[in-house]
Symmetry: C2
């Protein structure tokens, strides 16, 4: 054995010339300097260039600084996908503060909890949500008086009131357009805070850092081969995992952000055509709405649009239907804890030869690690032994890499727990196929155990979605004396559908093993969380009672 050669460590040190902490803020500065006139943000009649967006972000950072906001403070945002929300993704971290994007569909209690837990010093809030925000502010303890800034969006025509001291436009006018911001001293520094929408218990505050935000923003480009000047439609809320880091991605590709205050199917088709949108993201529910749009609305489409689909396991039928509509979908998967998608169903050219159903089945698998995720495995949660790659043995999904969160804010117990064994525990159950692609079978808590056999509720839902009259479906366990549990389905039918419970069960039996077929089907609308996730715990109670 030779001894270690130290020539490669001596005198080869980090200096400001050869080491700069990674931060996505660099992309905005670059976009504004190199392509100052290129359109950065479109919102109704508003069009902002990269120079203007940069200037507005600097004004915001400066105005916050003048109000005493400093490094490490929290700035909360209760905003839809509008220019102010985009600017906050840069302006807030410019001064070392942390942006906490609030889910605009939450109730006052949840918002009040978050404002208190995050110790928010400033709240940027849109007039549309003033009712909830007003109540939430009233719930804050005495003495806690955050600075409230109202966004009075000219594109919003509904009711509401202005709660705070100033409007956002007036507030940023206080700021210096040439504000001298600085990159973080350390790339391991918090940049944003996202509360998970737990279906029970208090939400947990997921903290992202500059390094991860930078790398995941780049990963989106690599995973999607996103070209320079892509045009991105904001169907995905920016409050959801910071829009999967796409605010920063769009600055890196010097693209154009097309804002949307809400999901309106006709408006989406119109704006795709008008702005020549190239890319968008959405949960299956958004894709489902687009797929089921009236024919005359779908006829507005003029070109192929790339879509990321994630947020829950997408039924193969939705993927197939969207592709028929001229959308090219890439299936991605992740959690709030992994900066949004960190797993991608990478496509293989030879799969193009397969028929549409086979293709959509392959595409419904979650896939493989994206470029910046370093490790992904399906393993036994007790000992972290990877399961065999047989497409059958179920295990939990574990991840590790630079796009795994710093941890949960003020919750070291939960942080340590989810990182046990040096892997992040996702709580999702999956199999690993022989080609290394993982496929989610269920959330740990959703799996049905019937007569000792595991039943993936996703597999049963997939069968239901294949029926042409089914709009939405959710399957949960129903207690059963004989079998322990049996599958119970909740189904929303399309308008004018005629299928009966018996017919739908018979249809399922053509697709599923007998024991996996729902023993009961209830036609109803499905209760959802504010992020569009179906609230299975409510359905479980209903199944139990029925």
């Amino acid at each position: 054995m030779t001894t270690q050669n130290n020539s490669y460590t001596l005198g080869l040190n980090k200096t400001p010339a050869n080491y700069v902490p990674l931060s996505p803020l660099t992309f905005l500065e670059r976009a504004a300097t190199v392509y100052p006139k290129h359109t950065a943000v479109v919102h109704g009649k508003i069009r902002l260039s990269w120079a203007e967006t940069y200037e507005r972000a600097r004004r915001l950072a400066s105005a916050l600084t003048r109000r005493g906001i400093v490094d490490g403070d929290t700035v909360a945002a209760m905003l839809p996908n509008i220019p102010a929300m985009y600017e906050a993704h840069f302006g807030v971290p410019m001064l070392g503060a942390i942006l906490n994007t609030l889910n605009t569909r939450l109730d006052a209690e949840a918002i009040a909890f978050m404002l208190q837990h995050s110790e928010a010093k400033v709240i940027l809030t849109d007039k549309e949500f003033s009712g909830v925000m007003k109540r939430a502010l009233q719930m804050l303890p005495q003495g806690r008086k955050p600075l409230v800034i109202d966004v009075d969006d000219p594109e919003y025509t509904g009711g509401g009131e202005l709660l705070g001291e100033k409007t956002y436009e007036d507030f940023i006018l206080e700021g210096d357009p040439e504000f001298e911001w600085s990159m973080p001293q350390d790339e391991w520094k918090a940049i944003t805070l996202n509360y998970t929408s737990g279906t029970t218990g208090n939400p947990k505050g997921v903290v992202y850092h500059h390094r991860g935000a930078y790398l995941n923003a780049v990963s989106n480009i690599l995973g999607w081969s996103m070209p320079k000047h892509s045009v991105y439609l904001w169907t995905l809320p920016m409050f959801h995992c910071n829009g999967w880091c796409f605010p920063w991605t769009m600055a890196a590709v010097i693209g154009t952000n097309v804002c949307l205050r809400r999901i309106d199917v006709r408006q989406i088709y119109e704006v795709i055509a008008a702005e020549k949108v190239t890319h968008f993201c959405g949960a299956p529910i958004v894709h489902n709405m687009l797929m089921n749009a009236p024919a005359e609305v779908r006829a507005l489409k003029t070109h192929i649009v790339e879509g990321f689909i994630a947020g829950a396991a997408p039924p193969a039928a939705i993927i197939e239907g969207m592709e028929k509509n001229g959308f090219k979908l890439t299936h991605v998967y992740g959690l709030t804890e992994t900066y949004g998608p960190s797993v991608v169903c990478e496509w293989h050219d030879e799969w193009d030869e397969l028929d549409a159903t086979a293709q959509s089945k392959l595409k419904a698998r979650q896939g493989v690690r994206n470029h910046m995720l370093e490790g992904l495995m399906v393993a036994n949660p007790l000992n972290l032994d990877p399961v065999p790659h047989d497409g059958e043995t179920m295990g939990e999904i574990f991840m590790r890499g630079n796009n795994v969160m710093m941890g949960y804010l003020k919750n070291p117990v939960a942080t340590d727990e989810c990182f046990t064994g040096d892997w992040f525990h996702s709580g999702d159950l999956a199999v690993c196929h022989p080609d290394g692609y993982i496929e989610i079978k269920d959330r740990s808590k959703d799996i049905i155990i019937s007569g000792g056999e595991n039943i993936s509720t996703i597999e049963v839902e997939d069968a239901l979605y294949r029926h042409p009259e089914v709009l939405e479906a959710a399957v949960v366990a129903r207690p059963d004396e004989k079998w322990g549990e049996t599958p119970c389905a909740f189904v929303t039918l399309k308008d004018n559908a005629k299928v009966t419970e018996e017919e739908l069960m018979a249809f399922c039996r053509t697709q599923l093993a007998h024991f996996k077929t729902p023993r009961k089907i209830i036609f109803t609308s499905l209760p959802k969380t504010s992020t569009g996730k179906i609230q299975k715990f409510l359905l479980r109670e209903q199944a139990k009672a029925s």
Copy 2:
């Protein structure tokens, strides 16, 4: 003022679950796992998949380990662009060793200096270079006996001998195809060593690290919007700044590397068509050769190919000529010290409206920082004050960012000197245009000062290149009693050219200010360094004597 909120630092620590050092090695593992059958490397009749390339790199790492090579050791490679060279870019760093790619055009003295300076423990050498390598090995001091492994490439049909103990193919058979390599413990760790081809004095050893190699590999993708499965032709030597980090880039995009032992214009056009090459890089001299290929060779071209052009300031005439030939060129600029290109002439769509000459003039500017370079400026070298953005005031180019080298091996004085003031000093002289694009005017030592006026030799060369009978041109200072210095041009004419010295001077006067027009033009062939750089110091001596 509020006090610092520490919630965002307490309990939010780096763990193996959420922090992994950056290394380009991750891209190979990913390519081999996700696309095992996709073609990674093409070399004549040889076609290797990503699974095979990964296996061969692991065998190499394992075989080296079994011979006692450890973390921090140097492995030298005297190889053309062939599979072994590609594999060495992964196999060597897999065990923590440092790859020193040697310039295959150097003489034995220079090679011996490098082998000694780097303390290379192993040498991978191609039979074609056995003459030089044999002499170099004989020059090494007693007792220094590196392990010599010969590459006996079946695509090489020339002479030479096998110098070492084993051939590369036999050597890697010693290794374990399942070798358990590991990512570096620290991303600030040396990965490769590249000696600069100084025209005088001993070469300096530029050290790259895993972090920089990873980021610059990604930067190539962002800067060029390189899609997945790009097909890259290896016209650029991999020994030159590690092929500008493209070995790692190609693994990240799961592309195909098309090898080339040497620059052969017909072969290049043939292989572009046969392998559907999408991208290639080269110094202006390579592009010049492609542009001046016989018409029947150029007729082989079937599709648009993207080219990076860099290595020296490219004459606008070459850019214009190549684009007429169906190449789409992106001009990039960098130094060995910046991992190859770190500056890119980003194109603006509105420039498409300009005529070809105006376009090629814009494209001949070096441009702006690429995504991973954090700072770029033209400044006064004495006080680092940026020059005005007037396109006229000359200053030195300074850079800073993660794609600036760790430093020079065993040369702390030169390292400190080039990082003075926390910026990397490039030694290149440039102006900065009002749009922030920089344009190189000269190397510090090449500038001509005539009657107190600076003359950019590049500007004069550009004028000469515009003459249709000029193949190559270089301009240097010639001592002059009255003016101090005057421009002296050395020109190689195309076959059958008839232009005289007087006619060429008259042509220059139509393009240049009178004082910039060469006072003397010498028709000759140009002396070049092994990397194709024109050796201006030899021309200066010749100009002085003439």
